[in-house]
């Protein structure tokens, strides 16, 4: 199997892992967003709790969860190790004067930092919801489903959480603004005809997804 490990330990191979896991995580964002949109339903969380119960116990979902963890794991590990490798390639002696802002965008250069913010958010987020639901006894609602909705209500009464969630969505936004089309470039999926469309969709995707996620804590804090 040495050719496989060699492929994925080369600089391009690692980038390919970043791209594939990145796009996979984008698809997760879509699923996660669609499900969570039920929070906005005016039924005091009945539908959301049912959805949450389903996600927590369906065997297919539980299996995919492992894939998702691996996706995150690889994306985070490769991202950090590439960042370290790239820093080493740059060398100890930096430029005295460097106007890199004149040839590239801030967010494209800040992927590791933006990703780290998102990672920090992810840990807090898992602790808030996933941890409580999976590892503690949560009160049940009228339908006998675990009352995840109550957890959300509770969490977003805390302005610090609200602020963290909103900031994290900005970090995710900028991460995606570069990451989405960058993944296509890394996979070599570039064509003069289609690449402009990929870029456009990437921008639209990033803005819609992040805005919708950010709307949730704001909605709960101010309107519930």
């Amino acid at each position: 199997m040495s050719w496989i490990s060699k492929t994925f330990s080369s600089s391009i191979g690692r980038k390919i892992i970043m791209a594939i896991t990145g796009l996979f995580l984008c698809s997760f964002l879509v699923v996660h967003l669609v499900g969570n949109l039920q929070l906005f339903k005016a039924d005091n969380g009945v539908a959301f709790n049912a959805y949450s119960e389903f996600m927590g116990h369906n065997p297919i979902i539980r299996t995919l969860e492992i894939v998702l963890v691996l996706g995150f794991g690889f994306h985070i590990y490769e991202g950090l190790s590439l960042a370290i490798k790239n820093r080493a390639a740059r060398g100890a002696q930096g430029y005295v004067s460097n106007h890199i802002e004149q040839n590239s965008s801030w967010h494209s250069r800040s992927m590791a930092m933006l990703g780290s913010i998102v990672l920090f958010f992810l840990i807090v987020h898992l602790y808030n919801f996933f941890g409580s639901l999976r590892f503690t006894d949560v009160p049940r609602d009228a339908n006998g489903n675990e009352d995840a909705y109550a957890l959300v209500l509770d969490a977003f009464r805390n302005p610090l959480y609200v602020a963290l969630y909103v900031v994290a969505q900005f970090a995710l936004l900028y991460h995606l603004l570069h990451g989405f089309s960058s993944a296509f470039q890394t996979l070599g999926l570039v064509h003069r005809k289609y690449t402009p469309a990929v870029k456009f969709i990437g921008y639209g995707f990033s803005i819609v997804v992040c805005a919708a996620f950010a709307a949730m804590p704001i909605y709960f804090y101010f309107f519930k």
Binding site: S11, V96, N103, R109, G188
Partner: protein
């Protein structure tokens, strides 16, 4: 003085130049004043003026690489005011002219920085890593003689033109110097996609990309994060599209080549 603007005023400038005795010793920035610089001078001619002054005073001139001074040999490589080849786009250092600067300016001049490009002396760096990458596979393995007639294989003009555009890389290393990751992907991709586009290069396309990428990694260049600084600073406008082609070639080669190693 002739040139464009007979009324152009000579300039006085402050130069902050990286001086370093050799590969081992530590370097630092040294300040110099240059006077009566004509706006029609090229940037390197301005450095010639500095060096003549230094030599007359018995000091060592600033070492820097340069040769053709026409923007094609790829020797010149200065990081000027925080930009590879200076502030003007699509220009090598030797084709940058002093009319882009103003009287009283301070100009910072540094060598290319990258682990794979160690400093030889002052502003001169070692770019032999690029040669070793080409030696790893940047060629078509044919011997002299015995080749078919040149018109035997027709090549569509647009393909040939794209191959030509990739082939115009001058190997200066501005891509590496300006990349936040010191990645050599633009350089490597220019050669890989030139030969991947042309039928002559098809026979070895898999081994070529595998070997060149392996050598690139061995030399200690960073990985591409698609930020685009390289293409923005490339004096001959090598396109990022080539990097996508390189990625494609690499993936296809790794997935389908018979090489198990």
């Amino acid at each position: 003085m002739a040139g464009s603007n007979p009324n152009a005023k000579p300039m006085n400038l402050t130069l902050k130049v990286w001086r370093q005795k050799n590969r081992i010793t530590k370097g630092g920035i040294v300040d110099y004043q240059v006077k009566d610089i004509s706006p029609d001078m090229s940037f390197l001619e301005m450095l010639d003026v500095l060096n003549e002054d230094l030599l007359r005073q018995g000091q060592e001139p600033v070492a820097f690489d340069h040769d053709c001074r026409e923007g094609i040999c790829g020797s010149c490589n200065l990081f000027i005011n925080g930009r590879a080849h200076g502030p003007e786009q699509g220009t090598t250092t030797c084709q940058l002219h002093m009319r882009k600067f103003s009287d009283g300016d301070t100009i910072t001049i540094e060598p290319w920085r990258a682990t794979a490009f160690p400093v030889n002396k002052d502003l001169s760096v070692d770019r032999s890593a690029f040669d070793r990458i080409i030696q790893a596979g940047g060629y078509v393995s044919i011997n002299t003689g015995g080749t078919p007639d040149a018109n035997e294989i027709p090549i569509p003009k647009d393909i040939s033109d794209r191959a030509f555009e990739a082939a115009t890389c001058i190997g200066c290393g501005a891509c590496v110097a300006s990349c936040k990751n010191a990645s050599a992907m633009l350089f490597v991709s220019a050669k890989v996609s030139q030969l991947a586009l042309l039928p002559q290069g098809h026979v070895e396309r898999k081994t070529r990309v595998e070997n060149m990428v392996a050598q690139m990694d061995l030399e200690g260049f960073g990985a591409c994060t698609n930020i685009g600084s390289c293409a923005a600073e490339c004096p001959v406008g090598i396109s990022l599209e080539n990097i996508a082609i390189l990625n494609q070639e690499f993936l296809a080669a790794k997935a389908t080549s018979n090489n198990l190693a």
